[in-house]
């Protein structure tokens, strides 16, 4: 028991409320010396593979560019069970099938669940690569800690994901506008209705091919910005990829759709700070009040936004290029409106795994003082700077192997 307590104490210290924000930074932790311990992780070397029978193999899509997100799944899934006594069991790769879950499982009542979203690409050289999977695994581990779900080793997981990609390699589309989306998920499965730490859990991964996000070129989106709805708040879990951050947004998404907006621009607080857009991070390129060209995105430290892998990648690239000022700071609607009225806002775009970048064409802003809606036009598509386009091209070139970048692509 003392060992357990001290471990718990360590975990709690790591994630005490004021540390949450710093824990959300993207720095990798030192990898400790490994010794076999199923209490700590599952292992790639224990992997059991059950090959699909011919009847379990599904026909591959004929035109992958037409595939919608999240409708088609590849042949295999990974599952791995955990329980408090034994720790992790042997991971399995098997033909995709329905999960059997006790109706009293915590995942069905208290949203004891979290996930990741990442992609594998078939490069122009026909090699399959994952984009920065270590970043997703680090975030998944941090989320697991906050969700009171079990920890695991990210590198073991990446090796298992690689194994899945080998088995499902035909599902990685042979197209430089398509990819295979991968969805690692961790859920609490013990059937007890007390709101407490899960004593059993299941890790699973499903994958599915996704088509071109922009089949007819960039489509600028309209955003509903209404500070009466919030996505996250200080002291909450907005910085973690827990399922609970998503359910409440569906109704607000419908509200946006009813006003002809495709996404929600999530604002926070009295000053209406910009935080995220839909399920993406947000970037602005403008001339700031000091007259400098500046790329700006909200910071991670308040715990209000998800530390996106694409966000991190864009910041890293922009800082390397050194062509303009790059700033992570809190930014509010007042500043955005002022910049628009002074013709200083050139580009606004979302960033995420699904689309890399997504241009914003319009904001439908609910003015809380007047209770009226205002149209704010954003000239992203006619910007002479081409900032968003350069990000899109560069990231795509890296993902499809046209540009080499040390440490970002994990080849299978």
């Amino acid at each position: 028991m003392p060992a357990l307590l001290s471990r718990m104490a360590q975990r709690l210290v790591i994630a005490s409320p004021r540390m949450m924000a710093t824990a959300a930074s993207m720095q990798p932790a030192a990898v400790p010396e490994k010794e076999y311990d199923p209490k700590k992780t599952f292992y790639h070397k224990d992997l059991e593979i059950q090959l699909a029978s011919p009847s379990q193999l599904h026909p591959k899509p004929t035109d992958p560019t037409k595939l919608k997100f999240g409708h088609t799944y590849a042949d295999y899934m990974m599952t791995c069970d955990w329980d408090q006594d034994k720790g992790w069991h042997a991971p399995k790769i098997e033909p995709i099938a329905e999960l059997k879950i006790h109706p009293g499982a915590k995942v069905l009542h208290y949203a004891s669940e979290l996930f990741e979203g990442m992609k594998a690409y078939r490069g122009v050289d026909n090699k399959i690569r994952m984009f920065r999977p270590d970043m997703n695994m680090m975030r998944m581990k941090r989320t697991a800690l906050r969700a009171a779900l079990p920890n695991f080793d990210g590198e073991e997981m990446i090796q298992i994901l690689s194994e899945m990609l080998r088995l499902d390699s035909e599902w990685v589309p042979n197209s430089d506008v398509c990819s295979l989306y991968m969805r690692p998920t961790l859920i609490g499965t013990d059937p007890t209705l007390g709101v407490g730490c899960p004593s059993a859990a299941k890790m699973f991964v499903i994958t599915g091919p996704v088509g071109a996000y922009y089949s007819t070129g960039f489509q600028p989106v309209s955003l509903l910005a209404d500070s009466r709805f919030i996505r996250a708040f200080p002291g909450g879990v907005g910085a973690y990829k827990m399922g609970c951050n998503y359910a409440p947004t569906i109704w607000v998404g419908k509200e946006a759709a009813s006003k002809n907006c495709q996404q929600v621009l999530w604002l926070y607080g009295e000053n209406e700070d910009l935080t995220e857009v839909g399920t993406m991070n947000i970037f602005l390129f403008w001339k700031n009040e000091q007259g400098e060209l500046e790329l700006i995105t909200p910071p991670l430290h308040r715990g209000l936004i998800l530390p996106g892998v694409t966000r991190d990648s864009l910041l890293e690239l922009a800082r390397e290029w050194g062509e303009y000022k790059v700033t992570e700071r809190t930014l509010n609607m007042h500043e955005v409106k002022k910049a628009i009225s002074e013709n200083r806002l050139f580009e606004m775009f979302g960033s995420g795994t699904a689309c890399v970048v997504s241009p914003v064409g319009k904001i439908l802003y609910h003015n809380k003082a007047t209770d009226e809606y205002e149209d704010l036009m954003i000239p992203t598509m006619s910007s002479k700077y081409g900032i968003m386009q350069k990000f899109y091209d560069t990231i795509n070139n890296i993902q499809y192997g046209r540009i080499e970048r040390e440490g970002w692509m994990r080849e299978i």
Binding site: M8, S16, H102, A111, S112, L193, W251
Partner: protein, 398 residues
């Protein structure tokens, strides 16, 4: 229930009648019952003190499936068994799920009663609208719940310390990974024989009040019984227990509004700054707390008694802390289905930003008013049929 932004916009656009032509609800008359050939009744502890909460399931469950094409299917009562769920189901990824909690009691007169179950079903419908899950009819749902309680009546402890916990819940089983509304859904009910939820010492529970951990915020979904309000609290509870607390007292906003404790509502019985005895609780209109059925019952009873002022208004941790220090707080208690009411004895108040690190003592159980005891006796008296209050008691005939 006070109207707010959510209710007014939602009722205008998602009114039941305009949503679909057919099977807008499931019907009790369509109920299919498949009985279990065996029973686990013998394995359930006979001593209610050993039942715990939510660990022992009865033999059967209710399961109803909804699809976009057909609407609701026929409700089924069947032996409890694993759900078969597509691994992409939205309930597993995006927390698209909600639940209710209520109890069936074995009365001193041998009758079985549900306590105000229509309140739970109305709240469940509101949660469903906010979670973009399908609507259903309250009375049909209640009749289905009656049926499972009737079938499982042998599991209801014949003790004034026990009850059959009834857990209706809904989830999205739609196997497309878009964060969106629609598709396949389930409505289900589990039942558990339960004892008392907490076993605190006689003096009551100890609460951790730390604004660094937040349950709900203006503009969020704190007032709905959606699964997403619970996952984030598990870790915080663990931290609180580590500090010797039983529950977390949730504060919200810059001004540290006192909202809930654990998964329960809370009440302060104090002498207010005007010198009046007053029972005070946070208002549901703030959208920050769950409109509890027990909470509503406490307020209704206290207003009927008409012996002291009863107030629903926002109050801050500052106000509460000051009142405790000035020895103006007679009683502090929490309310919920699991425990009815539970006295609190201590609040560990930590606020790093304001440099506060206090331990606040409240002698709730030593109060000369004995208000929480009176509330407990009255509500449990109604639940176990010692006190008649027809509109709060739904009798399930065997």
């Amino acid at each position: 229930m006070q109207k707010n932004l959510f209710y007014s916009t939602i009722s205008a656009r998602f009114s039941l009648s305009s949503r679909r032509e057919f099977n807008k609800t499931f019907y009790h008359k369509d109920l299919i019952v498949k009985k279990s050939p065996t029973s686990c009744l013998d394995q359930i502890p006979k001593d209610v003190g050993k039942l715990g909460f939510g660990q022992n399931f009865s033999d059967h469950m209710v399961d109803v499936v909804y699809t976009d094409d057909k609407g609701w299917g026929a409700p089924k009562i069947q032996p409890i068994s694993d759900f078969r769920i597509h691994p992409a189901a939205r309930a597993l990824h995006y927390g698209v799920q909600l639940f209710e909690g209520m109890k069936a009691y074995h009365g001193v007169d041998g009758k079985i009663r549900l306590f105000r179950p229509e309140m739970n079903m109305l709240r469940m419908k509101r949660s469903a609208e906010r979670a973009c899950l399908p609507d259903f009819d309250v009375e049909e749902a209640l009749k289905v719940i009656d049926s499972i309680v009737r079938l499982e009546h042998k599991f209801i402890p014949k003790s004034r310390n026990g009850a059959l916990y009834v857990r209706p819940f809904m989830l999205s089983a739609e196997p497309t990974m878009k964060v969106a509304a629609g598709g396949e859904a389930r409505w289900a009910v589990l039942t558990n024989p339960v004892g008392s939820y907490f076993k605190p010492n006689d003096k009551g529970v100890t609460l951790l009040a730390d604004p660094g951990y937040v349950r709900s915020w203006k503009g969020g979904v704190g007032e709905f019984k959606m699964g997403c309000n619970y996952a984030p609290t598990i870790f915080v509870n663990k931290a609180a227990m580590k500090m010797g607390c039983d529950q977390v007292m949730w504060l919200s906003g810059e001004n540290r509004l006192v909202t809930e404790a654990g998964a329960m509502n809370l009440f302060v019985f104090w002498k207010n700054e005007q010198g009046e005895d007053e029972l005070i609780t946070a208002p549901v209109s703030s959208g920050l707390l769950l409109p509890g059925v027990t909470r509503d019952s406490v307020i209704e009873l206290a207003k009927e008694w008409n012996e002291f002022k009863v107030t629903e208004r926002n109050f801050t941790m500052d106000e509460l802390s000051r009142a405790i220090k000035e020895k103006r707080v007679h009683e502090f208690f929490v309310s919920g289905t699991a425990a009815t009411v539970l006295p609190a004895q201590k609040i560990i108040h930590k606020d790093q930003e304001k440099g506060i690190d206090d331990v606040l003592h409240i002698d709730t159980t030593g109060s000369k008013f004995k208000l929480h005891e009176r509330i407990f006796k009255t509500i449990t008296g109604i639940q176990y049929g010692e006190i008649e209050r027809e509109k709060w008691q739904r009798i399930v005939t065997i």
